[in-house]
Subunit: 392 residues, 4 copies
Amino acid sequence: MMAAMDFSPAPATQALVDAIRAFMAAEVLPHDAEWLQQPFDELPLEPLRDHVRAQGWWAPSLPRAWGGLGLDLVDLALVGEVLGQSPFGHYLFGCQAPDAGNMELLLAFGTPTQQERFLRPVAEGRQRGCFAMTEPDTPGSNPTQLACRARREGDHFVLDGRKWFATGADGAAYALVMAVTNPDAPPHQRASVFLVPLPAPGLTLVRNIPIMGHGGQGWASHGELQFDGVQAELLGEEGAGFMLGQARLGPGRIHHCMRWLGVCERAFALMAARARGRSLTADKTLADQPLLQAAAAALRARIDAARLLVLHTAWTIEKQGFKEARTQVSLIKFHVAQLLQDVVDQAVQVHGALGLTSDTVLAYFYAHERGARIYDGPDEVHLLAAGKQVLR
Amino acid sequence: MMAAMDFSPAPATQALVDAIRAFMAAEVLPHDAEWLQQPFDELPLEPLRDHVRAQGWWAPSLPRAWGGLGLDLVDLALVGEVLGQSPFGHYLFGCQAPDAGNMELLLAFGTPTQQERFLRPVAEGRQRGCFAMTEPDTPGSNPTQLACRARREGDHFVLDGRKWFATGADGAAYALVMAVTNPDAPPHQRASVFLVPLPAPGLTLVRNIPIMGHGGQGWASHGELQFDGVQAELLGEEGAGFMLGQARLGPGRIHHCMRWLGVCERAFALMAARARGRSLTADKTLADQPLLQAAAAALRARIDAARLLVLHTAWTIEKQGFKEARTQVSLIKFHVAQLLQDVVDQAVQVHGALGLTSDTVLAYFYAHERGARIYDGPDEVHLLAAGKQVLR
Amino acid sequence: MMAAMDFSPAPATQALVDAIRAFMAAEVLPHDAEWLQQPFDELPLEPLRDHVRAQGWWAPSLPRAWGGLGLDLVDLALVGEVLGQSPFGHYLFGCQAPDAGNMELLLAFGTPTQQERFLRPVAEGRQRGCFAMTEPDTPGSNPTQLACRARREGDHFVLDGRKWFATGADGAAYALVMAVTNPDAPPHQRASVFLVPLPAPGLTLVRNIPIMGHGGQGWASHGELQFDGVQAELLGEEGAGFMLGQARLGPGRIHHCMRWLGVCERAFALMAARARGRSLTADKTLADQPLLQAAAAALRARIDAARLLVLHTAWTIEKQGFKEARTQVSLIKFHVAQLLQDVVDQAVQVHGALGLTSDTVLAYFYAHERGARIYDGPDEVHLLAAGKQVLR
Amino acid sequence: MMAAMDFSPAPATQALVDAIRAFMAAEVLPHDAEWLQQPFDELPLEPLRDHVRAQGWWAPSLPRAWGGLGLDLVDLALVGEVLGQSPFGHYLFGCQAPDAGNMELLLAFGTPTQQERFLRPVAEGRQRGCFAMTEPDTPGSNPTQLACRARREGDHFVLDGRKWFATGADGAAYALVMAVTNPDAPPHQRASVFLVPLPAPGLTLVRNIPIMGHGGQGWASHGELQFDGVQAELLGEEGAGFMLGQARLGPGRIHHCMRWLGVCERAFALMAARARGRSLTADKTLADQPLLQAAAAALRARIDAARLLVLHTAWTIEKQGFKEARTQVSLIKFHVAQLLQDVVDQAVQVHGALGLTSDTVLAYFYAHERGARIYDGPDEVHLLAAGKQVLR
C-alpha cells in the first residue's frame, strides 16, 4: 500500500514535544506572568536552562555538530509551538530571537574564525547577540532603502547611522548590522551584513525603546543604536546583505508563526480556564455563555486550520525549498499574525478587568505581540506580495 | 527512518484527482453557466455520465461491490473538491446529494430487498431518490421536534405531515422520510426513517420551492411534500431515526465541506481570470489593484488553511472514528460555509455587474450556496455545540 | 435661546412620513413577496398609484410646478427610507430609478420642448424612461473610457455601441444615453448625453439580463441594448456628459442610501418578527437566543448610526452644496451598501431555509440588492476616492 | 417655517469647542506622549488647569452654582470629544473620571454637609476622590452579586471586603464605596453607597494594579483596596446602591463614548499625518497606498456615523430622559468601544514599529483604552441587553 496523507508527527518527535510540553506546564507557565514583572537579569532562568541541557533539549534549531538537536523544519515547528506558550520558552531552550536567526546566518555564511568567535558562545548559551537592521527613518519593509552607511577603510569597514528595534542589544556580545556599502548598485546589491563585537568605540545604546511603556532590560529589550565611525567586519560577500536578510527571514517566519500559535494555545487555554472558573450565578459559569462559546469555536477552527497551514508550509520548504514556498510564507505571516491578535484579544475580553492587569501573561501578549503584524514585513507588504502571486 | 507528517496524497489518488480535474476543465466548467439557464431534463448530462463510467470513475463514494470506487474518506474528499467546482460535478459522477447519503444509509441499514429495490437503480445512475426530513414549521436544527407522524397499521406504517427542502423530489423514484413513531419516547428515540416508493397515493409534491426566485426542476429542485396517509416501510429499527440521521450527516459534512472548497477554488479562479483580463488603463488590469490583491491573498490563506482542516478531519474520522471527530466536524461545518460565502462574494464583486448576471456561474453560487450556512445545522448550532466542547 | 442640534424632522415632514409608513404597512408590505413572483405587467400597481396621487403624495422628488412634493433633500431622504422598505415603494410614488434621476437631468438641462416630450409623461406616471451608461466591455467605474460613439450627422447625432444594465429599458418610452462625442478631448469632456425616443430604428433590446437567474420584465428588468446607427438628440451641451452624470449621481447616492436603509429596516423587522415567532422549545423562541440578540444589537447600532450619517450628508448638501459633501457622499455609498448586505444576510440566516425561498421578500433583497456594492461606483472606487481625501 | 433637523451646534457652543480645541492643540497634544512617560505628580498640569480656569472653561460638567459651565448633555458631549483627544484633557478641565461621576452623585444625593466636605474641594480642583465598586472575585457586570459587606454599628457603617480598579485611589481624599447592606433583599436593593474620608483606619491601598505592565501613580492609577472594619457614612438611602450606580453610569456612558471619539480623532489625525509624512519612494508616501486609503475611508465613515449616534443619544436623554434612551445607551457603549479599538489599532499599524513605542500617544491608547470594551459593562452585557430590546 502506498503512502498517503498523514497528519501524525513521527513518534520520536511526538515524544519530544510531549516531554517539553510537560516541562513547560510544570516549570514555566505557572511563573512567567510573575517573571514579566521582574528585571530580566534577576530571573531564575539559568537553572532551567541547565535542566533543558541535561534533558538533551538544548538548541533545537542548531545542527548536532554545534550541540543542537538538528531537527528538520517541521519538527522544529512543532517544538517551537510548545515553547511559544511562554515569552521565555525559546530563551530557555537556546533558540530565542534574534540569536536563532543570527546563528543560522553565521552557520551558513561565517568563516570558521567568525563562527568560533560569534557563534560558539551563543550556541552554548554563554552569550547573546543582536541584529540591527531596522532604522527609525527609512521604511522598515524595504531593505533596499537603508540609510546606514559602511565605507571600507583598509581591511575593515566603518559604520555610520542609526538603528532601532535591535532586540536584546542591551548586554549583547556582538551585533549583526545591515548597512549600505554601495548606494549606486542595483537595489538588492546595495547592502552588506557586518559583525561588530560589543562594546565598540563609537557605538552607543541610545536607549531601550519603551514598548507600550516598558523599556525592558537585557534580552527582553529593544535597543536604539547610534553608530559613529564604528569598526566592523564583513559577514559573507559585500553586497549580499539583501540575500542574507532573506535567508534569515524565510525560515524565521515559520518560527514566528509557530511561536504565535503557541501564544494562541496559551491564550485559548487561559480563556477556557477562566470561562470554566468564573461563576455568573449559582449554577452557571462564563463557559455557559453562548456568545463566548461561539467566539471560542470560531477561534478554535481558525487556530487549528492555521496550524496546519504553517506545518504544510514548513513541509513544503523541506520538500521543495524555500523558493517554492515563498508565497505560502507570505500567506502564513499575515494570516497567523492576525489570528494571534484576535485570540489574545478575545482571551483578554473574557478575563475582564483581570485581562488588563499584569496578573496574567495575557496583557503582555496583548501589548508586546502586537508587533507580529509589523515586524518581518507588515501585513500590508505580505498581502500585496502574496496577492500578486495568487492572482496569476 | 520513521514515518512523519506527509501532506501528499498517495500517487494513485493524485493521478485520479488530476484526471478528473482535466475532465472537469474540458467538459464541464466551460458549459455549466449555460446549463444553469436551461431546464434540467434538457441538459446533455447522460453522455458525460457514460464517459465517467467508461473511465472507471463512477460513484466514488460507493464500495466496489456496488460498482463504485471504494475510496476512503480522505481520498473521497480530494475527489469531492474537484467535482465541487461545478454544480453538476457530483451529479455527473453519481455521488450527488441527497443520493450519496441515501445510499450510505441503505448500505448500512437496508435489508437486501430494500437495497435491491432502492439502492441498486440509484447506484447505477438509472434513478434518483430524495430525503424528506426538514419541515416548514418545526426547527430544522432539532430533529427531536418533528411534527410529521408515522403510525403503524398492520405490517406497514402510514405517514402524515408536511416536509420541505426535499432536494430532487421532483422525479425521484423513492423518498426517505423521517417521521415520529413515538412522541413520548426520549427525544432521540422518537423518530424513525421510512422508505416510500414514488409516486405514492396521498403524497403530493406541493411545489418546487422557489429559491431566490427559481423553482428549478428535476434533481435541481427542492420539493415541498404533503403526506396524507401515505404507506411506508421502515428503514432500520423503529426509533432509530435520530441515529440514522446522524450517521448520514457525519461524513456528509465532509462531503459538503470539500464540495464547498471546490466552489471556492472555482470562484477564486474566475476572480483571478477576470482580474487579469479586465483592463483599467492601457497597461493596468484589475489584478494590479492593491485592494484586490490583498483581498485575494487573505482569501487564499483562508482557503488553503480550511482545506487542510477538512482533510485533517476526514483523516481523523478514518483513523479514530466519527465520534472522536465530532467537534472537528462542527468546526469545519460553520468555518467552511462562511468561507464559501466570502470567497463567492468577493468573486462577484470583482466581476462587477457581470457577477450579478447568469453569464457566469458565480451568481448561482452566490444565491444557491447561501444555504450552506443553514442546512445540516445552521452556523449557530455548530458554533454552540463546538464551543461547549472546546471550552472544556 | 439660540438654535442648536436638533434631530427631529419638521412636524409636517414627520406627519407625511408617518402617513406613508402606514400606507406601506397596510397596502404594500403584505403583498410584495407575492408580487415579486408575478410578471410585472400583471401587478395591481396602478390603483395604488392612483391612491398615492389622491393622497397628494405623488412624485416627492419633483418640484411642485411639475406636480411633485418639492421636498428638500433631507425630507426626501426620510420619505425615501419609508418607500425603500419594499421593492415597489418608489415605483408606486413615481420616484423610482432611473426615472427620478432622468427627470432631475431633464429639469436641469432639458429644453422646454424636451421637457414636454420626455419629462411630462414620466412625471405624470404615464410613461417610463431608461438610462444607458454602463457598457459590458469598459470599466463601469470610469465614464471617461466609454466605447459607445456618437457622431454628428446634420442636425442630429447617430449612436453606435452596446450598453447594458439599462434598468427598465423593456417598455421604456425613451432612453438617455451616454456616448463619446470627442474621443480626443480631455477625459472629462469626451462624452455627451443623448435622448432617444423608443422604439428607434437600429436600437435592439438584446435581452433582459438574467440577474441571479431572472430576466425580469418591464420596469423590473435590466436591459442590454445594441445601438446601430441610432438617431439621437443632445441633452445639454456637447461634451457635458461627465458633468451631467455626476449631477445625476450626487443626490442619487443619497436616494440609494436611504432606500437601502429602508431595506435594512424591512429586513430587520422581518428578522425580529421571525425571531419572536419561531419556537425552539415550549417557552423559548429564537428571540431568546443570545447569538441572535447580539447580532441584532450590533446591526441596530450600525443601522441607526448609518441613518444619521446619510441624513447628515443630505443636510450638508442642502446647506453647503454637493461639492462640499463629495467625500461624505463616497463614505455613505460604500458604508451603507455593506450594511445593507450584512443586515439582509443576517435576516436570511435567522429565517433558515425559509430565508432562501421566495416566500419572503428577503431572498429578493439578498440577490438583487447585492448590486448596491457595485453600481454607482463599486466599493473600491469610493473607498479609494474618499480615502485620499480623509488622509489629507 | 417650522424647525427641522439641524446638525449644527449652537454658535456659542461651537465657539467654546473651537477655543478649547485650539488650546488642546497648542498646549496639550504636543506634550502628552512625553507626560505619559513621567510620574504623574511631576507633570506641569497645575498651570494649565489655572489657564483653563482663567478662560472660564473649568468643570464643564458642573452646574454654574458649583463653579462649572452648566452645559447640557449634548454640549457636554461636544466638549468631551475635544478633551478626549488627550489622556490629560478631562483632568485639565476638572471633569475627569471618576470625579465627574462622583460629583454628579454627590450633587444629586449628598446632604449639604456631604457636599461641602466631599464635593466642594473636588469641584474646585483641590482634591480628588475615587469610586470603589468592582471586586476581583465577583462578576463586575452584575452589581447585585457584590461580596463587600457593610454592617450598621451605631450611627455609622463598617465596611469589610476587597475592591479593585478604583481609579485614582492613590492620593484620593475620599472613596465612594458600593457595599451590600442587606444580602437578603431583592437583588437591586441589596447594596448601598458609602463615603469614606481617606486615609481611613482599616483601609489599605494594596497596590496600584499594573495595567499592561504599569502600576501608574496618583490619578493615573487603578487601586486595589482592602477594607477591614472601615468606618463609613451612607450616601443617599440604604439599599439605593444599584439605583445610584445606574444614575452614575447612564450619562457616564455618553461621556465615555465622546471621550473615545476624541481618542478616535486623535489617532486618526496621527495616522493621517504619519501617512503623509512617511516616504516610501522619492514621490510616494504611505498616504498613496490604496490599502491605507481604503482602511482610512472605512474608519472615517464609522467614526462620523458613531459620533452622530452618540450625539443623538445625548439629545434623546435631554429631550426624553434616560429611561427612553436606555437601549440607545447600550448600543453606543459597545459600538463606540469597538470602533475605538479598531481606529487605534489601525493607527498603530500605520506607524509600524514606532506605533509600538511610547514615542507617540498611540501605544498608551492601544494598551489602556482596551478597557473600554470591559468597564461600565462589557460588550457582551450590552449586546445582550440591547439585543433583547431591539428584537421586540
